[in-house]
């Protein structure tokens, strides 16, 4: 029996429990659900459970993203325990019980919709799940209820809705003009009839889907929601938005790219995706130069990393492996950075970088891992992102585009220098007076364990992958 229905049912049932159960146990219920899901997924991978069904299906791409979702979902739920507790202690005049309930119920629905995106086989239900990821997270972005939160949430909702409609029209074009459209309403069915889709229809549909799901993936020029939503959301939600939700947007594009490749329109899809990827890397890198807010800085970096992943997936089999690694490493590091940004925001009192220095000495665990995380996301060795970015450049050279490889390298170097500058100015130097005055409690297990797991994960990728590559295991040789 397949385990996939359980993966979707457990978070939903837990959300119902969270709604009714009161007290401290409520905060731990999402952790229990996500641990269960992670265990089921790992067992499923080990046992090789059936992967294709009429409603639920899993392929290589969805397996990778499901793994990322389950892992980051678990660490976000764990980090939320301490984050929400601290938030509740600081609010004296608000109904914190109701606020906590809303937070954890929405967190579970958000997590469930993220898993549903990659597990569902029906194209329109996948679309619905991608939409639900946005709808479930809108109120989470607005959770603290400030004016800026309202602004970010409104913008997020409007842009997500419009992106969703564009993608839906593209999907309807692909499916609706099929002679046997009822078969083509599943991803596997559509792939089977891909050759019968006229090239002009497939290309037009892909452009619409790229724009629609590109909005969800934060690709430039559809990224306007991303820095606002990421900077205003509670830190664990920013981690989920950046570490998981962006991947789900890219998933929609990649499934359509597979259909175009199956129908002989692969080069068009690859070129369009790579163009948007390059544009995203260029604009996001330049935008990081002018940021004054560390959460916005991390948000632009998310966009840049998804741009690199988009380029990777347009470069054939080697690029696909690089793309998987890019998504995994980015999710691990960026979620960790957002967890730290929560700690730092609490100690510093804002997300502004101006005047912020000496974090590594003032908050040893948070500060030092934050500096490491910033170096890791910039692509420094020995972290995993270095390997995946190296593989993308290698794949570009191998596909006969050395100039494009050099251009990408230039942007990556610029981003690296920029993050190095920010990490030194924030991490070292005199401890900021305001930072010095704040009470600095020892980090709790719910804060250190998620960041520790993420750091170990990305280090493992960075150190083991070269060995696997040299042994030829990674490329299946």
């Amino acid at each position: 029996m397949t385990s996939q229905p359980f993966l979707l049912a457990i978070p939903l049932l837990t959300a119902v429990l969270v709604w009714f159960i009161q007290g401290k146990v409520r905060r731990w219920l999402p952790v229990t659900a996500t641990v269960l899901n992670l265990s089921i997924l790992i067992l499923g991978y080990l046992q090789g459970t059936p992967s294709i069904g009429p409603w639920l299906a899993i392929n290589g791409l969805s397996a990778v993203i499901a793994g990322i979702t389950a892992f980051v979902g678990f660490t976000a739920a764990l980090y939320s325990v301490g984050y929400v507790r601290r938030h509740s202690q600081e609010q004296v005049d608000l109904d914190t019980v109701s606020q906590e309930r809303t937070y954890f119920v929405l967190l579970l629905v958000f997590y469930d919709s993220l898993l549903a995106v990659v597990l569902l086989n029906n194209i329109f239900m996948t679309w619905g799940a991608i939409e639900l990821t946005a709808l479930a997270s809108v109120l989470l972005v607005d959770w603290k209820g400030t004016k800026d939160n309202h602004e970010a949430a409104w913008k997020y909702l409007i842009i997500m809705e419009f992106g969703g409609l564009l993608a839906l029209l593209g999907l309807l074009l692909l499916v609706g003009l099929q002679p046997n459209a009822s078969v083509a309403t599943t991803w596997t069915g559509l792939l089977a009839v891909a050759k019968s889709i006229p090239a002009s229809v497939a290309r037009l549909a892909f452009v619409l889907i790229l724009a629609g799901f590109g909005t969800k993936a934060g690709l430039v020029p559809f990224h306007a929601w991303l820095p606002d939503a990421h900077s205003q959301a509670p830190s664990p939600i920013s981690a989920m938005l950046s570490g998981i939700k962006l991947n789900c947007g890219l998933y929609g594009i990649l499934r359509t790219q597979q259909v175009l490749q199956g129908g002989g329109n692969g080069p068009f899809a690859d070129h369009t995706l790579a163009t948007l990827g390059f544009l995203t890397v260029a604009i996001s890198t330049l935008m990081t130069l002018y940021q004054k807010d560390f959460k916005r800085l991390f948000a632009y970096s998310s966009s840049e990393n998804l741009g690199v992943a988009a380029i990777a997936f347009s470069l054939g089999p080697l690029g696909v492996i690089a793309g998987y690694l890019q998504m995994m490493n980015h999710s691990l590091i960026k979620s960790m950075l957002f967890y730290h940004s929560g700690e730092l925001q609490h100690a510093w009192g804002s997300t502004e970088m101006e005047g912020l220095s000496g974090v590594a000495r003032a908050l040893p665990w948070t500060g030092q891992t934050l500096v490491l995380g910033m170096l890791a996301i910039a692509g420094a060795p020995p972290f995993g992102l270095f390997i995946s970015e190296f593989m993308v450049i290698f794949a570009l050279v191998k596909t006969g585009s050395p100039l494009l490889a050099a251009l990408l390298l230039l942007f990556l170097a610029l981003l690296f220098a920029n993050f190095l500058r920010y990490s030194i100015s924030m991490g070292y130097g005199e401890i900021s007076t305001r930072l010095n005055r704040t009470v600095r409690p020892l980090p709790t297990l719910t804060a250190t364990l998620p960041t520790g797991l993420h750091l170990v994960g990305t280090l493992a990728f960075g150190m083991l992958l070269p060995v696997l590559w040299s042994l030829g295991i990674l490329l299946g040789r």
Partner: protein, 209 residues
């Protein structure tokens, strides 16, 4: 079916005009008119194809899109918000209508040149979608942006209606439920904006996108 699509185009321009110059309430009536035309298309498909799935979808369209959504907006939004006009539209309504007309013709031409005669509904859908984007982008009033989204969504339903007998009702209900959820969120956020600095979005510019 072509004549119905041309009537739809007229209604779509009326929707653009009403959303730009009139209050949210009038915009809702035009949205209903537009939805009724899409429902007509569904009904026509049902009669032609004798497919029970089309009738099931029509029921969802009428009950969720046609009745529940306008009722929910009317019930939940304070009367003051419903009767407000967007006096600070970034462009004139006449220009917006002309712009939408041009956008509509361009979309239909694009789809026809790519797909042929079968592309007409998709062209109309794309035109409505792009006009919805224009309405959302140029409006200052949160309610007008929500209406822009609903009008854009009608465009996609138009494309759904023309392919209905071949696409399962699951697709329709996924879209209907998604729009219903989105409307709930739009209204909740509008109430929050109303309690904060009002629903005029030009009062919110601390975030830079």
């Amino acid at each position: 079916m072509t004549w119905l699509l041309w009537i739809y185009l007229g209604v779509y321009l009326l929707a653009v005009w009403a959303t730009a110059v009139r209050e949210v309430n009038t915009g809702l009536w035009v949205y209903l008119l537009q939805t009724a035309l899409v429902a007509l298309l569904y009904g026509r498909q049902g009669l032609l194809t004798h497919d029970i799935g089309v009738w099931v979808s029509l029921f969802g369209l009428v009950s969720i899109r046609g009745l529940w959504i306008p009722w929910f907006i009317h019930r939940r939004l304070p009367p003051l918000l419903q009767s407000e006009r967007d006096i600070a539209y970034r462009i004139t309504p006449t220009f917006l209508v002309l712009f939408s007309l041009a956008l509509g013709l361009l979309s239909i031409f694009l789809m026809n040149s790519r797909i042929g005669q079968r592309g007409l509904p998709y062209g109309t859908a794309l035109a409505t979608l792009l006009t919805g984007l224009a309405l959302m982008s140029f409006a200052h009033h949160a309610g007008k942006q929500m209406l822009g989204m609903l009008i854009a969504e009608n465009g996609v339903d138009l494309a759904l209606a023309t392919t209905l007998w071949r696409v399962s009702a699951t697709a329709d209900y996924t879209v209907f439920v998604e729009v219903a959820l989105a409307v709930i969120l739009f209204v909740v956020l509008m109430l929050k904006l109303h309690q904060s600095e009002g629903v005029r979005l030009d009062h919110y510019h601390s975030l830079r996108g």
